[in-house]
Symmetry: D2
Subunit: 304 residues, 4 copies
């Protein structure tokens, strides 16, 4: 498979999908993004990156950051204890987030819904971590891009629209499932979502998941089983309420963000990152899902 040709072909085939859907509109910084943008990058196991379109254009990573904070927690000694505070099951549908928190004693369903990611951030914060600092350090190193940083405009906008996440955090606190202070956790959470990266950088940063836990410098971040398990959680829970549909169409572990990014993993082969800001009703990039669908169809590299 000649990847540059593949990317060119996919790019052509999904051209009609680019611009479809709507940009996330809950904060101005996201709402005014051009939905006509499309970028895609593939990072091979050896660190070679191929790209097409706007693959070098940065955007806020939003919920894609949840994959990395989860990995950072699990990489710590005793990190698996986070599973006492957050589950690993799909959340069903959106309205359940709060019902389920209420029914399940403040334990979020999985680390990729907002409530679960707040627990992960809290776990890092309670262990004394400067969460955003550590995360930036990791992402810069993996992608060899020392310039990766928080988009302060997005961060300010997110912070001004955080009441719902604040409600989730206090609700979990009322069940004893917050260890650090809620305002601190929220501040860190907002900043990690506002980190700006491009497709190449995200694809490189996620390679440890395709390499069963090994970082780009050859050191081990996670046990083999831990890396596989993050992939499993991405597949079952990584694309909001459309995880089943994504598994069905694409057949790869993937994590999406409302900026229109999706990071997907082909275990043992490569990572793929797509970005296109037009979202479908479930919050996933329309052109991004279409491109990944084409990718697995053309390569046969779905996990199934």
């Amino acid at each position: 498979m000649h990847i540059p040709d593949l990317l060119a072909r996919i790019s052509a085939e999904v051209a009609d999908e680019v611009g479809r859907g709507s940009a996330a509109d809950y904060i101005p910084a996201l709402a005014r993004v051009d939905t006509g943008r499309f970028g895609m990058a593939v990072a091979e196991l050896d660190g070679t990156v191929h790209g097409t379109g706007d693959w070098r254009q940065r955007f806020s990573v939003q919920s894609v950051s949840k994959v990395f904070t989860l990995a950072l927690v699990l990489a710590q000694p005793g990190g698996d204890q986070v599973w006492d505070r957050v589950g690993r099951e799909p959340s069903g549908d959106p309205f359940n987030s709060l019902v389920q928190l209420e029914h399940e004693d403040g334990i979020p369903r999985n680390p990729f819904i907002n409530a679960g990611a707040l627990v992960v951030t809290d776990e890092l914060a309670a262990r004394g971590s400067d969460v955003t600092g550590e995360l930036l350090s990791f992402l810069r190193k993996e992608s060899s891009s020392p310039g990766i940083t928080v988009d302060e405009e997005v961060a300010a906008s997110e912070a001004a629209h955080a009441d719902r996440n604040r409600a989730l955090a206090y609700f979990m606190a009322s069940y004893g499932n917050m260890r650090a202070s809620v305002p601190d956790v929220l501040a860190q959470y907002v900043r990690q979502c506002s980190i700006a990266m491009n497709c190449a950088e995200l694809a490189l940063s996620g390679l440890f998941l395709a390499r069963h836990g090994i970082r780009n410098d050859g050191t081990r971040l996670l046990e083999r089983s831990q890396a596989k398990r993050i992939n499993a959680v991405m597949l079952t829970c990584g694309t909001y309420d459309a995880a089943g549909q994504f598994a069905y169409r694409v057949g790869l572990p993937g994590k999406s963000g409302v900026s229109g990014a999706i990071l997907a993993v082909v275990p043992g082969r490569c990572t793929v990152c797509v970005w296109s800001p037009g979202l479908d009703a479930r919050g996933n990039s329309v052109a991004g899902v279409a491109a990944l669908d084409r990718f697995t169809t053309l390569t046969g590299w779905s996990v199934f």
Copy 2:
């Protein structure tokens, strides 16, 4: 009906119920109350009060305060607009509080669940009111008890355990249904719940509801229809998830609090306040409900 005899008889008949149930245990100040206490007072339309047992013992009014803040809002010019922000339907069962907020766009079901009372307090606060100050002033005047004040120990304890209410408030804020600042509203809410009063004072303070809106000094607080409508909301929503059961057994508008107080209204006749800290599984005073049950059975004064 000779009320002193009636109260003596009821007191004797419910003696076995006193001490049953458990005191609210979410804050130490409530948990250590003696569940063996029982007080009951009847206030007649002319302001005569009769009492039995611990009717002069003060306790924090807790959710009984919700009746008075609702009345204070409705008494303001344009006060009925609060109904745009809070409904008038029973909430079904406990787990629904958050589901319903989510399904119904941040509009609480009624002003007597916590979310709804937060909206009422917010409405007062946003109108520039010193909520607790105004409330104290009203209660002191109606009961001729200038010494009524906030129990600061209870208030401090409540403030330290307010995460769930904080979550509710931020959740409503995320739907645009908070006008004042959430920390301010919570502070006022906590203080109004911590006001300490006795059965006689509460019965006197509620007489405007039995008198179709007329205060103890003969001035009108509410329109006749407004007073009747508060009674209607008390009957359908005043005793948490046991409103149907309370209507069935007692047949009077009533509002309970987790301190073990219940304020009931016999329209056109009197008010009744009972207090006994042992609560049933729904959060209503065991001996209090039993005493009101006896009261309506012996007098025939249920509204049905």
Copy 3:
């Protein structure tokens, strides 16, 4: 209060409301009813009936029948045991019907939602009653109208659209909360809803509730406390998800049906039946609620 004048005034005042809303459309027999019809009748304790408009026009009683089957169960020896199988709490909102059945082990929230009424019918059927026969006999006697009977066209139409009620019944059966055979219970349930009566007949048939349990021939059907308690359940649960709103506006125990009928009780005074087929979003007659609102405003006879 001169009731004929009162009825004439109400009729004039609600004229604008008549024709608003939509007829129930789940069966053709209801859908094609003229929403421009309006009838209202008041039955005084002595059996005198006053009426206005289409008060002698018959319609299928639909859910208003639930009041009478409940009374017939309670009138039996040990009838109060039905409360082991059905609750007395408002159901919150429509979507809860099945959730609550599932959460609460197949025990419906109250006897006036369909699931609860199926339990009441089942209780009668399991006790060997010819449910519809007994009900017809009771209604004919109370209203002195031997011609009251089932509208067979409506019954056939209902029977052809009973899948949802069938689902509810089998669901309760799966929890062991059906005693007779489900097809038999459904057949009886459909027939009792399809009984055709007019406003005068319904008002007369409900007088035992205004008379604290005494039938029109002076015999006792129910204990005083039982009659009051049916009124309490009507007030908290009688108008679907709008019970709070109905209590707020009208302030009387009432039971509505999707044919546009509402039977209301003024304890110790009279019953009122209104009929107008245009329904609001909650399934209650638009003009019917308006007429009862005017009725209590003009008479001051709300229970509050």
Copy 4:
């Protein structure tokens, strides 16, 4: 990997798990099964089968049958239209089954919950299929076991305890999502769940999923993409409310049944069937999940 040795090792390593959990107890025929039984079989792509323990002991396949009926529907011309009637998303948690049906207009979340499987059976029945006959024919052919048949005792027992499935079916019918008659669909559904097979037979019958749609005789049952997609649905929805946990521990598409069977697929390599009747709280075989966990750990053959 020498599979007989592997199976012997797994069998030894999970010995402590065998007997844990409880047999399904909703029907006597399942409740009295010996929880001390354990069987496991691996079928390689060429049809070679290896087994250990009770791998030749037959049991009712229960929900494992849902995989095969789904395949049979999809194999028909226009079979993909079944996706208009049933979704592909995990169901969240058990209490949602009915909520979601209600919220989502009678469209079940996925074909592996009971409601969804009823739709699949209905789709076959409405297309004129003798569902159980066709299914038996397929299973007998794939496993070269002409003696596979329905366990009539289990079928009779299931039929006598089918009220909940009956409720689901009528509920969907009320939304217009049943095409054949409900009693017929239920009868077929009960019979297909009661088919008795052993581990070897199930592993062989599922090989088309490991072979991307090709049956054991080399003919194509499904398109490559269809087979992959069934695997995707198995992974996200195949083990009740524990799909996330199963993906996390085992990392393979799998479908479990309350008899204690689990059929798992290693795409491109083999199928694995385990059977041990002791179930965990989510309804999956305790020893079965443990054995599959060991299997993927020892072979490295998880899809992640």
